[in-house]
């Protein structure tokens, strides 16, 4: 069923999903929590590489190491509440990681037989999906170009050449879609110039977003703030974050998932 009312939310079974990262790349830029290691829940994800992800790319799932651990639920699932605290202020995008592919430094990759992530978007609607770059090593001045099939199935669209930041591992940058596009169905190719390390390209579906304004204080985000984004049993949930200082920005995040 669909949660369509406050009463539906009240009666829906709920679970608490914890996402705890106490080590992260040091950056006042956006970074990906995917590979953040240490004494974390869940464990650090594995970086997709040329060897393990080309030429098709991978659709990571809830069972992929690095994804938030979700207990299987019946019906439709929604993120209905979150509580979070962090040692420094920062901004967070909680996302469903739909697709990723890795490459070596400055490698051009033409993808083929890409697996579809259509089952992880509501109503077959590819709008709102985003392309991100993740650094796998510090240094260089990489410029990325990604071609893709847009939300309506038009092929050969491009992000154009976009300078990204690779100052440290895990630093992430969103790549702009071509004007007129609002999402994408498929990555077609990736290319990089000016890099000295490998790179990762992801397709993500933003779920909800929040800001930690005060260090070491609990922040509660009820459903009017999360917006009840729908998730799936196999959703691969983690976050992109932007800290306010050069200190590492981990987080202790608990998400309430209601299903009906």
């Amino acid at each position: 069923m669909t949660i369509a009312s406050v009463v539906d939310y009240f009666v829906a079974p709920k679970q608490q999903v914890r996402y705890f990262k106490n080590t992260s790349p040091n950056s006042a830029l956006y970074y990906s929590s995917w590979t953040a290691g240490g004494n974390n829940v869940p464990s650090a994800g594995v970086t997709p590489t040329a060897a393990n992800s080309q030429p098709t790319g991978i659709v990571p799932t809830v069972n992929t190491t690095g994804a938030a651990v979700i207990t299987p639920f019946s019906g439709n699932g929604y993120i209905t509440q979150a509580t979070a605290q962090c040692t420094i202020p920062g901004r967070y995008w909680v996302i469903d990681r739909l697709f990723h592919i890795g490459a070596t430094a400055n490698q051009t990759v033409v993808l083929s037989n890409q697996p579809s992530y259509a089952s992880r978007i509501p109503n077959g609607d590819f709008t709102g999906l985003q392309i991100w770059y993740e650094s796998t090593g510090g240094g260089g001045t990489p410029t990325m170009t990604v071609t893709y099939t847009d939300q309506s199935g038009n092929t050969g669209h491009s992000t154009g050449a976009f300078a990204v930041n690779a100052s440290s591992i895990g630093v992430a940058s969103q790549l702009p879609l071509q004007v007129g596009d609002s999402g994408l169905q498929k990555i077609e190719s990736t290319s990089c110039t000016g890099g000295i390390s490998g790179y990762v390209i992801t397709v993500v579906r933003p779920l909800f977003h929040f800001y930690i304004g005060n260090a070491n204080q609990e922040h509660i985000f009820p459903f009017p703030t999360t917006g009840l984004p729908q998730i799936y049993q196999d959703s691969c949930i983690h976050y992109y974050a932007h800290g306010t200082t050069l200190s590492g920005i981990g987080i202790d995040l608990t998400m309430e998932i209601a299903s009906l």
Binding site: S5, T127, G128, S152, Y211, G213, P222, H242, T244
Partner: protein
């Protein structure tokens, strides 16, 4: 349909749009500056409007009709859209404001004296198609100027009365690119249906646009790299349209517009 209950918001279709700027602009403390022409997501708009004789009603989407610089909105014209959530932050302390850019014209030279004709209507982007109250009139510097730019705009007010005027409004200082200054409406006016003429005086160099804004939301970033999340109770759920051009202006505490990073939730029902 109109969202009239919390249940309807819950059941509404949500879309998430990002609005960030990856380059900064030199600003003046406590003065509004435009940033929709800077690089980021969505891509940069062209600052000069490119039409001085008639003006343009910029539109954003559906696909194929997008004007760069504004998020592409996806909801159908058969449903009603609302801005329901704004998550925002910036690398500088500032106030951020999002508005629907309903109409713009320019770029005018410093000494322009232009009477517009055949202006396209923006009635399709105000509630009910008839309520022009609350709309604002702004001038926007396109190129740097010499001496202090003054701008006079005559307009048709919210009720259809023609020939109302702002009087000559000073920019306060020589224009710098992207600077904004609001033009006060005539006493007793609360909005406008149409810009009739634009006149520039005093300055000896520089160009500027004039635009009509429908303010939707504003929020304060209290410290550098700070931000907040405003849910529907704080945003107030202003109605928008799938052609709305959601544009951003920044009023920084210091001399840089910083890198604003905003995420918008739009609910349609």
């Amino acid at each position: 349909m109109t969202i009239m209950t919390l249940d309807q918001w819950i059941g509404g279709t949500k879309e998430i749009k990002s609005y960030s700027r990856t380059t900064t602009r030199t600003s003046v403390a406590n003065v509004w500056f435009t940033v929709h022409d800077l690089a980021g997501h969505p891509g940069a708009a062209t600052l000069a409007v490119g039409n001085t004789a008639n003006g343009l009603v910029p539109v954003s989407g559906p696909a194929g009709a997008q004007t760069n610089g504004y998020p592409l909105l996806n909801f159908s014209s058969n449903v009603t859209g609302y801005l329901t959530n704004v998550d925002f932050g910036s690398t500088v302390a500032c106030r951020l404001s999002i508005y629907d850019r309903l109409f713009n014209c320019g770029a005018y030279t410093f000494n322009a004296a232009t009477t517009l004709a055949s202006q396209p209507s923006y009635a399709g982007r105000v509630p009910g198609g008839t309520d022009f109250t609350g709309l604002q009139l702004w001038a926007e510097a396109v190129t740097a100027g010499t001496l202090v730019q003054n701008v006079t705009v005559t307009y048709t007010d919210q009720s259809g009365n023609t020939g109302h005027t702002t009087g000559a409004v000073s920019a306060g200082a020589a224009l710098t690119v992207g600077k904004l200054w609001q033009l006060p409406l005539a006493a007793g006016d609360s909005g406008l249906q149409k810009i009739e003429s634009v006149t520039g005086t005093v300055a000896s160099a520089g160009t500027f646009n004039v635009f009509v804004a429908r303010p939707l939301w504003s929020g304060r970033v209290t410290i550098a790299n700070g931000g907040d999340c405003h849910g529907l109770d704080r945003v107030g759920m202003p109605q928008i349209w799938n052609t709305s051009c959601l544009a951003l202006m920044v009023n920084a505490d210091s001399t840089s517009t910083g890198n604003p990073d905003i995420i918008l939730e739009i609910t349609s029902f």
